[in-house]
Amino acid sequence: MRLNLALAQINTKLGNVEANLEKHLALAKEAHAQNADLLVFPELSLTGYVLQDLVPTVACRPLEDDPVFKPLLKASRDLDLVVGFVDEDARHRFYIAAAYLARGEVVHVHHKVHLPTYTIFDERRFLAAGNSFRAFDTRFGRAGILICEDFWHASSPYLLWLDGADILLMTSASPGRGVTDEHIGSSEWVETVHKAYAGLFTIFVAHANRVGFEDGLNFWGGATAYDPDGRLIAKGPYDEEAITYAELDLGQLRRTRARLPLLRDEQAGLVQRELKRILRND
């Protein structure tokens, strides 16, 4: 079985959900015309990233009658979508969220768990943190979503892996830092980590990242997809808007794990016992 994956690295208008929604719908149409099965948008793709006091004004709810989600859900009848947005819960807490939409329905919503508040980041000041990592079923197998800082904690993909995810969909709005090497420093850190996850967990790892500027912050794009051997199977350009297509040969999961049974040999019970001990001593 094959999954034709499309990774959209887009620029957004900060706080202008209507304009960003329009771009999502246009790209969904384009990716569908290219026979994509799934189109992944970056973190906060419907809103822009450095929202600060814009958070309450851009928030929406992943519901059928929501004016933002209604057209997205309609578009998801043609191809599955992962979109980034601010999710407002019934008690008015605001989360950085990514929703997996398929066949007109909301399949899964992930709330970003790890909200950085250091150096250029100040997410926790404005937003609520999620408190779970859950894999979910898609027509291509079981998947999991991580949003930016989530994937800087190795426990996040580990939990999704144990929860059955064979495809990790990573989204981010990663500001570029570091100009001494061939590419922007932060791109090399992210690529190294994603390649490592793919190889360590024998899974597919795909990443969609923002492009463009917000004040002086620049987002570097550079979408990637790695296969369960840790091989790069698709790479988007840096710095410019693009859709990157990757054909995921899902049969590779079986072939890799027949050779390298890391999942079979993982000792989750031991991890649990040791974590209990470590936390008790804390």
Binding site: K13, G176, N218
Partner: protein, 273 residues
């Protein structure tokens, strides 16, 4: 390790996109740069010209009667190299009536008046040319506060403010800035014989390395001394950075209401664009 080298093609590409993006999203397509004949403004104008097209960048030359003649010449070299529009507006007649009121006026005051007069002209040309003022302040001078508040530091966007002076030299070479501009002693050219390094009391090369450790690498003062820097030098630079913080932030607003600009009314400048 103190490594101030940069990938100049990566930086060039990033900064050109920054200038283009931030100027166009503000609703403009043109820029104005005060061209002093020195390295910093040379880099800024080349980046602006590459981003917007040279015909969309106005070079403004603002000599005072004591300005070094080669400042004008070096600025002219760049104007001709880029083939961009330019104006030359001597500031002597603007600033001398104010300076002449006090015969004992200090060089610092005179220098500040000149820097602020140049700001007035830049912003006037900004309106006339319908272009945004592109800044020319580098990271070294921003950190040291070696700049006139509301003078040469005033701008709409600053593409070079995260590059130390020694890094700007690398970028300037990659941008084909004439060698004579890159190699001459940096000067604010506010009075005859003034040089930055003479006035500051240390070289850019020395202080950039120290600032890189202190700021970028988060070294403690003691670790800088252990890395080979003179303790007195370390202390004086840290104090200079601290006492010039006021030049790097908006003036504090006294908070009396429930929501106050700059404390809890927080939006990026790119809000809505």
């Amino acid at each position: 390790m103190i490594d101030l080298s940069i990938n100049t093609s990566l930086v060039r590409n990033l900064l050109v996109r920054f200038v283009k993006t931030e100027i166009t999203r503000a609703g403009y397509s043109r820029a104005v740069v005060n061209l002093s004949g020195g390295l910093d403004s040379a880099v800024s104008i080349v980046l602006a010209a590459e981003a917007l097209g040279a015909q969309n960048v106005l070079a403004v030359r603002l000599p005072y009667k004591t300005s070094a003649p080669d400042s004008l010449e070096h600025a002219q070299m760049l104007i001709e190299q880029l083939d961009c529009p330019s104006v030359t507006i001597p500031i002597t007649e603007m600033v001398d009536p104010l300076i002449d009121r006090e015969p004992e006026m200090s060089q610092i005051r005179k220098g500040n008046i000149m820097a602020r007069a140049r700001m007035i002209v830049a912003y006037d040309q900004s309106e006339a040319f319908k272009g945004l003022v592109v800044g020319t302040g580098n990271k070294t001078e921003i950190l040291l506060g070696y700049t006139t508040l509301f003078g040469d530091s005033a701008c709409a966007i600053n593409p070079i403010g995260d590059l130390y002076k020694t890094q700007l030299r690398q970028l300037a070479r990659a941008l084909d800035v004439p060698a004579v501009i890159i190699e001459k002693a940096p000067t604010a050219d506010l009075w005859q014989g003034q040089t930055d390094e003479g006035e500051l009391g240390f070289t850019y090369e020395e202080v950039d390395k120290l600032l890189y450790l202190l700021v970028d690498q988060r070294y403690s003062p003691q670790e800088c001394v252990e890395a080979g820097f003179d303790e007195k030098f370390v202390r004086s630079v840290i104090e200079r950075v601290r006492c010039n913080q006021y030049k790097r932030v908006m003036p504090p607003v006294a908070k009396i209401s429930s929501r106050t600009v700059s404390y809890d009314f927080l939006y990026l400048r790119d809000w809505g664009t």
